[in-house]
Symmetry: C2
Subunit: 147 residues, 2 copies
């Protein structure tokens, strides 16, 4: 942000988005079934420019098999800024033994529940993000002010 522009919203580049994604653990996953949205809170790990999450057989996984297109959002409020990043992409369940073994070795994987037995990978088709730097004049910003 340059201080003299009117719009305080800064558009993040891909590198900045991935930095935020790699620091985040909680997001919300949006799916679309018969052109109606579904949404779930999820833990995820950003790794190798992909997103990895764990789930169990159930409605979320079933929804992913019907429509692989997903949008994952994570946001946060820090002392200096407010941000939101959205990854759009295609989700698929990891099914080969080698893939699952590799996924299990990814650091921070312990942050997702071990009770969830299925790995799902999101291969991004787009990554976008926004940030507003907080100041005296916009002290009560939330992620909602980004869009």
């Amino acid at each position: 942000m340059t201080p003299d522009t009117e719009d305080p919203v800064e558009i993040l580049n891909e590198e900045e988005c991935w930095k935020i994604l790699s620091d985040a653990t909680l997001g919300r996953l949006a799916l679309s079934i018969a052109n109606e949205p579904e949404i779930y809170p999820i833990n995820f790990v950003a790794h190798g420019r992909k997103i990895l999450l764990r789930t169990n057989p159930g409605e979320k996984l079933f929804a992913l098999t019907i429509n692989e297109n997903v949008a994952l959002e994570t946001d946060g409020v820090g002392s200096q800024s407010v941000w939101s990043v959205v990854v759009k992409g295609k989700a698929r369940q990891l099914d080969s033994g080698a893939e699952i073994e590799a996924a299990e070795k990814i650091p921070r994987q312990q942050m997702t529940s071990v009770r969830k037995r299925v790995f799902v990978e999101i291969v991004p088709t787009s990554v976008s993000g926004r940030r507003i730097h907080r100041g005296p004049e916009n002290d009560e910003l939330t992620a909602s002010d980004l869009y």
Copy 2:
């Protein structure tokens, strides 16, 4: 939750969901455009068994005019429990002067940015929620563990 059941996830009734919704201010709104999901962080107010939010002319509002079906999720982690509530419903922009005037009088409306000039109302078709009570054995729960 009864302590001796195996599944720690408690399904919330509608009353409990509205209590959580009325205490919340930040959620994420999922939309579906051409059967692909979109997701935005939003501030909202629960009022009279409806959800009210403010936005500006832009891609989010445009998306709502293409497909009125939305899903709004809010979640949180407290000292005692972790919860998530999802409202599915139909969104529409308030357009009459009387409606807008009434919306502007709703308490806590100041929590959404005054820079956002358009009111959108979500009339719910379903409200659902889940909660897990935290205990020594599940100290590191997040909302992701609910689904």
